[in-house]
Amino acid sequence: MGRIEIPLGPQHPALKEPANFRLYLEGERIAASNVALGYNHRGVEKACEQRTYIEDMYLIERVCGICSHSHSSCFISAVEEIAKLEVPKRAKYIRMIIGELERIHSHLLWLGVAAHEIGFDTLFMYSWRDREVVMDILAMLSGNRVNYAINKVGGVRRDISEEQKEQVLKAVDILEERTRYYIDIVYSETTLIGRLKDVGKLSYEDAVRFGAAGPVARASGVDRDTRRDDPYLAYDEIPFNVITDDHCDVLGRTIVRAKELMESYKIIRFALKNLPEGDITTRSPRRIPAGEALSRYEAPRGEDVHYVRANGTDKPERVKLRAPTLANWASITNMLDGGYLADVPIVVAAIDPCISCTDRAILIRYPDSRNENLMDWNSLRKYSIDFYKNKGFNAKNIRMNIK
């Protein structure tokens, strides 16, 4: 049988973010595949070297739109380690609570995306509706639905009041009940099981060999979780279980994420109940003494790794970021090969890829382009307003009723 080569992406309806796959098909089956990345490379690491630690906080928070708190906490832990800052316990707990809320928001988002990829749109709408509950809680605690900016060097920006505690606990109760229902679906709904079982296989050996991270690794039976193995913040004081599963397929990845939600509720309840009294921040220097630190953080998608080297000024010498998706890309071809073309969207979605995190672009015109002008922010804005005006839509004529 002849082989057919199919390019998928970088822009494709089945992909939420740009990546490029070359799939070699024999009939409907994928005989070989390779992946190309970098379409979202923004030069964050270089930019960090040219900005102060305080500016970097804002930049790193924006490495990813979903796990923003993970990246900022990971970075800040490395900086605080170098500066030998003793972060108040209450601040550590608040960081942890926000971190777990973020995990809930990320896993619920994923569950919706995965359900949508397999055509189970009811589940998609349910889980995204429930996700609003946790988004509201995050907005209440931090002032924002995403990019919470709760961290600052030496502590956190906002405290959690008694009243807020009550509201978070109430929301967690609602979410827990909903999650029980989702776990029940994952174990009993025959169409879902039929669609996900034995799809995107990754054996235990391969998961270890290719260094898979997070729920992808745990769904292949790899018992690894940075929160337990290399505890940061105050995770060593909190009881929780590391969820693993031995399905080694997309179903396993779904089970692991659903069950991890339950663990997150447990952690939040415990942390709120045992929230230590005291300050939420400590004085921090503008200049960070020379030194280096490596910090690891279990983000919703797997392990974030940040390496920071300081040179005694107010700007870092080097900041290295590694997002969990990069670790999981190494095993993606392994999951695709041997499977069906129709399974590609769900297999890719099942590693919960976050390409912004992974690629971190340098905005430069193409070498072969004759155009000298780059579009700056103002001209881009003007372009978009004119574009819609030409279509007969003028934003100025719209009156909004804001209550």
Binding site: A36, E45, F210, G211, A330, R365, P367
Partner: protein, 158 residues
Amino acid sequence: MGNEETIKAALLQKFPQLEGKCEIIRQRRITLEVDRSRLIELLNFSCSELKFNILCTITGLDVGDDLQFIYHIANKEGIVMNVKTNAPKTDPVISTVLGIYNGATFYERELEDLLGAKVEGLPEGRHYPLPDNWPKGQYPLRKDWKPENINQQNKKEE
């Protein structure tokens, strides 16, 4: 393998030349410096004997006349070893670790693209993370590199 001290002792016994270059910087963090000719041997030993079988990432740095590479490897107990090695910019060649850590492809391509390292033994493939038509000889993470470099080079070519 138990705690940090035992690991350090095991390393020093196998590689006496590490004396004075291996340090426990804090709980669960060990830093050591090794000559690039012994790098693969050391990583092999750490992976198979000391069970440091997780490659967290590889950091590349511009440290003046040299490029520095830090291999962050971890074990199941959460201990991380930062294995540093240097290569001069005039001869920035290091060997691939793919034989030990199969998932290292993207990390090593990143070193090639962003810092201009030559990773010996890394199979031919597409660029990461820079585009395929990125001009040759431009390494963004080198300290002397500025975005204007690209525009200048383009002018020259035109």
